[in-house]
């Protein structure tokens, strides 16, 4: 292992380990404040997630959405852009997939309908990403503010569509079902997963992770994107069109988040429901941060945060499930705080004479 790789791994893992320790202590305190034994609660959390096939299925289902939103945020960060809009891009993707499903005649069958719905989801999310991308490329507007503001606008618009747009089934906030565009659940291949929502959109997530890695590290466009993320001025001097790269990054980021909407819409419920995202877009920021903006890291981090969120349901009998929301916040905060500290520590060591660390854009 070259020193450079080793440093990259150390810089990636140490903050996460530190954060896990802090989260463990914070969790213990919360559990004790509720008058329960920490050991029993942590065991229950493990048993309810990785201890049985249903739990594993639920973790995989949640990790699928988080992998998409995490990859979306990571692509933005690699270009030096902070996409806080994954939440609304995810929702818009799901909405577009459902609209496409409703528009297609049921006779087409899943082999035609599913790819078209996936494409619609990517376009839907990409369109929401286009706005902050344009504002940034054209006017230099800060994408953090633009994506936050756009979240509220898009979510309010979707709420209006469902509440009064005539698209929803009366008395509900969801559309008619689109069974002809459904993606099979894992349970239809492996009986053990019965009842869990895990479905083959999982494979789309893995393919997206691989494609993102290939794009970022093996294509010219991806190289330019990372160069812009590291040093926009230097990239500009090297002849890279920086605004255009920002635009591409934001649209790609939005499209990836949008694809995530199909996990719920095509794989789980076969309809779009207002509010289905439930914070998965915001958690994508945590996933990208802990995953160090690397596709492999993002997938692992998605599994971690999915375990936490499913684990919350498992422990609810003993301790309120809201405990995991606190822990999620604690993990993110602790990682954000220890990343600069760990880097400083590693660089202060004599071995720091080794070549510069692997470039990681806009690390947090």
């Amino acid at each position: 292992m070259s020193p450079r790789t080793r440093r990259a791994i150390e810089e990636g893992l140490l903050p996460t380990l530190a954060a896990l320790l802090v989260a463990l202590v914070a969790g213990d305190l919360l559990i004790l404040s509720y008058g329960q034994a920490p050991g029993a609660v942590w065991r229950l959390m493990l048993d309810g997630t990785w201890g049985n096939a249903y739990g594993i299925g639920q973790v995989l289902y949640k990790a699928t959405t988080l992998a998409f939103t995490g990859l979306a945020v990571a692509v933005g960060l690699r270009a030096g852009l902070f996409n806080i809009g994954a939440e609304s891009q995810l929702a818009a993707g799901g909405f577009a997939a459902a609209l496409m499903g409703l528009a297609l005649p049921p006779a087409l069958g899943p082999w035609v309908a599913v790819p078209l719905c996936l494409a619609a989801a990517a376009v839907g999310g990409g369109m929401v990403g286009l706005v902050p991308g344009l504002l940034r490329a054209r006017f230099g507007a800060h994408e953090v503010i633009a994506t936050i503001m756009l979240n509220f606008v898009v979510l309010a618009f979707l709420n209006w569509c469902m509440a009064s747009g005539g698209l929803s089934v009366p008395e509900t906030l969801h559309t008619r079902a689109i069974p002809h565009a459904s993606v099979p659940r894992l349970a239809s291949f492996l009986e053990a997963f019965h009842g869990s929502a895990a479905n083959l959109v999982l494979l789309v997530a893995i393919a997206t992770a691989v494609a993102t890695g290939w794009f970022l590290f093996r294509t010219r466009q991806g190289y330019e994107l990372r160069a812009v993320g590291l040093q926009p001025e230097a990239a500009e001097n090297a002849g890279i069109r920086v605004p255009r790269t920002w635009l591409i990054a934001m649209v790609a980021s939005g499209a990836i988040a949008g694809l995530g909407g199909t996990n719920f819409v095509l794989g789980y419920k076969q309809y779009f429901e207002d509010g289905f995202t439930g914070g998965a877009g915001f958690l994508g920021i945590a996933v990208a941060l802990v995953g160090r903006n690397h596709p492999l890291g993002v997938v692992l981090a998605a599994l971690f945060f999915a375990t936490l969120s499913q684990g919350g349901l498992a422990i609810h009998a003993l301790v309120p499930k809201q405990m995991v929301e606190v822990l999620e916040g604690v993990v993110i905060l602790a990682v954000a705080m220890s990343v600069p500290a760990v880097r400083a520590l590693l660089r202060a060591r004599p071995r720091a004479a080794a070549p510069a660390a692997a470039p990681v854009a806009a690390e947090g």
Partner: protein, 291 residues
């Protein structure tokens, strides 16, 4: 009719004014204020706990401000002491406060949605708009904004805040303690935003889950729409509140769907970002973790 709308506007604007004044202070010192929402929610919960256990709205107010100062200190610890990415820290803090308030709502009151009725200011949440005029926090909020506008940024401390937010290196070389000024600004912004949360909880006489409902982000929108100037930010708060008050009046008449009225602050801010209503330039060192 118009009088009612104007009174409603004032009443809706108070939490925005508090949070936005906190936002202006922190952002002018160079620290991104995504955590306003969390500060407000923490303040609302602290105020409810304080008022519930002491039986006094004033103790509640103090407890709420205390909660905000504490959250501000956590934000400062992360952003100033540890140089964490300020956007990540803000997002994390918001998430953490939502979880903490829900967890302790269960622990203290055995509920997942709201606290019992606690002492507060003024009458029932929806009582006559005129009664609002008798609420001390209303005048406190307006006075604070005026003080912020005319005073703080022009005092010695205010000058330092601005120097630290624009050119930390220059400020440092002149002997200004950058970290100290930023700590003070961020902790104070936590307390100020929490005041807005206190007002919400004590006005409604209870805490409800996620009762701030994005108000911290509206306040942030007002800061940006107001180009980081206290007076302009205050006017933006009043403008956004006026749109909301108008919406309450036309609810039911179906003139404009309420969702579109909700969008107004956000759309206006997007328009402002695009530079269509004059350039919106943030403090030069905003968001930089070095310096």
């Amino acid at each position: 009719m118009l009088g009612v709308i104007l009174l409603q506007t004032l009443r809706i604007a108070v939490p925005y004014l508090f949070a936005a004044s906190g936002g202006v202070l922190a952002e002018r010192a160079g620290i991104v204020s995504l955590a306003l929402e969390g500060f407000m929610l923490g303040g609302a919960f602290g105020a409810t706990l304080g008022a519930y256990y002491s039986g006094s709205a004033w103790v509640g107010l103090a407890a709420g401000i205390g909660a905000g100062l504490l959250l501000g200190a956590i934000h400062a610890l992360a952003c100033v002491r540890f140089g964490a990415n300020q956007i990540v820290a803000g997002v994390a803090l918001n998430l953490m406060v939502v979880g903490l308030t829900r967890f302790f709502l269960r622990l203290a009151f055995g509920s997942s949605s709201n606290s019992p009725r606690v002492p507060g200011f003024g009458g029932e949440g929806t009582a006559g708009a005129l009664a609002t005029l008798a609420d001390p926090p209303l005048w406190l909020g307006l006075a604070l904004m005026v003080v912020m506008a005319l005073g703080v940024l022009r005092t010695r401390f205010g000058l330092r805040v601005r120097a630290v937010g624009e050119k930390p290196e220059a400020a440092e070389s002149l002997g200004v303690g950058v970290a100290g000024v930023r700590w003070t600004a961020v902790v104070a912004s936590g307390g100020l935003a929490a005041l807005g949360g206190c007002w919400l909880a004590l006005d409604q006489h209870q805490f409800t889950d996620q009762m701030t409902a994005g108000r911290g982000f509206i306040a942030l929108a007002a800061v940006i729409f107001g180009r980081w100037e206290p007076v302009r930010a205050g006017i933006a708060c009043l403008l956004f509140a006026f749109a909301e008050a108008l919406q309450i009046q036309v609810q039911g008449t179906n003139v404009i769907p309420s969702q579109f009225v909700t969008m107004i602050p956000y759309v206006l801010t997007l328009v402002a970002l695009a530079g269509l209503v004059g350039r919106s330039t943030p403090p030069a060192a905003l968001g930089r973790s070095d310096g």
